[in-house]
């Protein structure tokens, strides 16, 4: 049964670490408190494993106390979150950064969004004159082209049609 105890201690450590990583990475106040609860459940697993290992009730009673304190903490934390939300209408923990020291430089964050679908443009058939292959000559007379008299314009149109 020693291995079970050992495995459960490692499992409690895993839960604790998951909670800790969540607490460090999450930025929403509510999820940070959920991470705290996760850490506490890891501690509970630890206590229960030792309670079974030593075949007595001490660990279980300590786990009951942990549960009680966790319930109290959740109640107070949620009341705090609600009152904080009423002030700034955001759950971002960074919104309350000005409560800390002002000497620490603010981290400039690159905006990160959920995936954007790549835009697809419709393919149009080319129309009109291609100014690269047939550059418009410097003496091109738009006025004469409107009148339809210019031979030069006629040849240009014929060239595009061909």
């Amino acid at each position: 049964m020693n291995e079970t105890t050992q495995n459960l201690l490692v499992f409690g450590g895993v839960l604790f670490v998951i909670g800790m990583v969540g607490f460090l990475t999450r930025r929403s106040l509510i999820l940070m408190f959920l991470s705290l609860e996760m850490m506490l459940s890891g501690v509970s697993v630890n206590l229960i494993a030792f309670s079974r290992h030593h075949q007595n009730y001490q660990g279980q009673i300590l786990a009951v106390m942990v549960l009680t304190i966790a319930a109290c903490e959740a109640a107070i934390a949620l009341a705090l979150v609600v009152s904080l939300y009423r002030r700034k209408a955001t759950l971002d923990v960074a919104a309350w950064d000005d409560l800390s020291e002002t000497l620490i430089p603010k981290v400039i964050e690159s905006p990160q969004t959920l995936e954007e679908p790549a835009m697809e443009f419709p393919k149009l058939t080319p129309a009109g004159l291609d100014p690269l292959s047939r550059p418009i000559s410097a003496d091109f007379d738009a006025q004469s082209m409107e009148n339809g008299e210019s031979v030069k314009a006629n040849t240009l149109e014929a060239g595009t049609h061909a």
């Binding site: 020693n2 998951i18 509510i30 030593h54 075949q55 009673i61 009152s83």
Partner: protein, 291 residues
């Protein structure tokens, strides 16, 4: 050897937790020699690092692309496989391991899901699996209480607040994580340290029952307890010696709690009362000054 057999018979699913049926130290030493603890090897770092990589890939892939997500899932499976390589293979341990694996998976889901409600669901999964683990460790009362308090009350209240404060679209602070690389590195180092400490030689003391000391009034060993306790244990012995090994789990927990730890229970009640008052005072809407 008969004692050992009794011990194994009764601890097949519900371990006896009553210290009144204290096993002699010699028996626990025999059990320990039969099942020594796993010693630390450097290859135990592999599942830890794989798990960290899995977390990073999945948390990136949830937002960016499915390829990262798939890679993270593969890494997580590999980590689970490696971790299983270090554990013994009885059926009971496999059930326990699967509870642990589901709990860890729920935890990873909790860490990586960007929608807060999904994260809360991952947390609920993890907590329910932890309840299964506690149940298998014969902590029935704690398992039930955890299920009611955490998975019932706490999650529901968290969801209420989440619904109250959450907009329909995701905010930046939901999508963006705070330094996931640094946090994962710290977590991996901490987990490696914990594993190292647990797998150290003599980290888990072989003597699990200290029969020389009365731990609890609830344990009532027949040599040291009241006359009534001696009478009761004699009666039990007369009926069937094995009866004394029948676990009196929750009853014993309650007895121990309300005898040895009465002061702690009173203090916990006081803390609950103070927390209730504090929560009501904090959540009160500040009334506008009426002109």
């Amino acid at each position: 050897m008969n004692l050992l057999n009794n011990y194994f018979l009764n601890s097949a699913f519900f371990a006896q937790t009553d210290a009144g049926t204290a096993l002699p130290t010699a028996v626990s030493q025999v059990v320990d020699q039969a099942a020594p603890i796993q010693a630390w090897t450097n290859s135990m770092l592999v599942p830890i690092v794989l798990g960290a990589v899995a977390y990073l890939l999945i948390q990136h892939g949830v937002v960016k692309s499915k390829a990262y997500f798939a890679g993270g899932a593969v890494a997580a499976l590999l980590a689970v496989g490696f971790a299983l390589g270090f554990t013994p293979g009885t059926f009971e341990s496999y059930v326990l391991m699967s509870f642990c694996a589901v709990a860890t998976g729920g935890g990873i889901g909790f860490l990586t899901a960007r929608e807060p409600v999904y994260a809360a669901l991952g947390f609920a999964t993890a907590v329910l699996s932890v309840c299964g683990v506690l149940f298998m460790q014969s902590a029935l009362f704690i398992a039930a209480a955890t299920m009611i308090v955490y998975a019932g009350a706490t999650i529901i209240i968290f969801l209420f607040v989440l619904m109250f404060a959450q907009q329909t679209e995701l905010r930046t602070y939901d999508v963006q994580l705070n330094n996931p690389l640094v946090a994962t590195a710290i977590g991996a180092i901490l987990l490696a340290t914990i594993t190292m400490c647990v797998t150290e030689n003599n980290a888990i003391l072989p003597v699990r029952v200290d029969s020389t000391r009365v731990m609890s009034a609830a344990s009532l060993p027949d040599s040291l307890s009241s006359e009534a306790g001696k009478e009761a244990s004699k009666k039990l012995d007369a009926i069937d010696p094995n009866l004394r090994y029948v676990p009196k789990l929750t009853a014993g927990l309650g007895r121990s709690m309300y005898t040895d730890y009465l002061l702690a229970v009173e203090l916990a009640g006081t803390v609950l009362l103070v927390a209730t008052i504090g929560a009501i005072a904090l959540a009160q809407r500040t009334t506008e000054t009426q002109s």
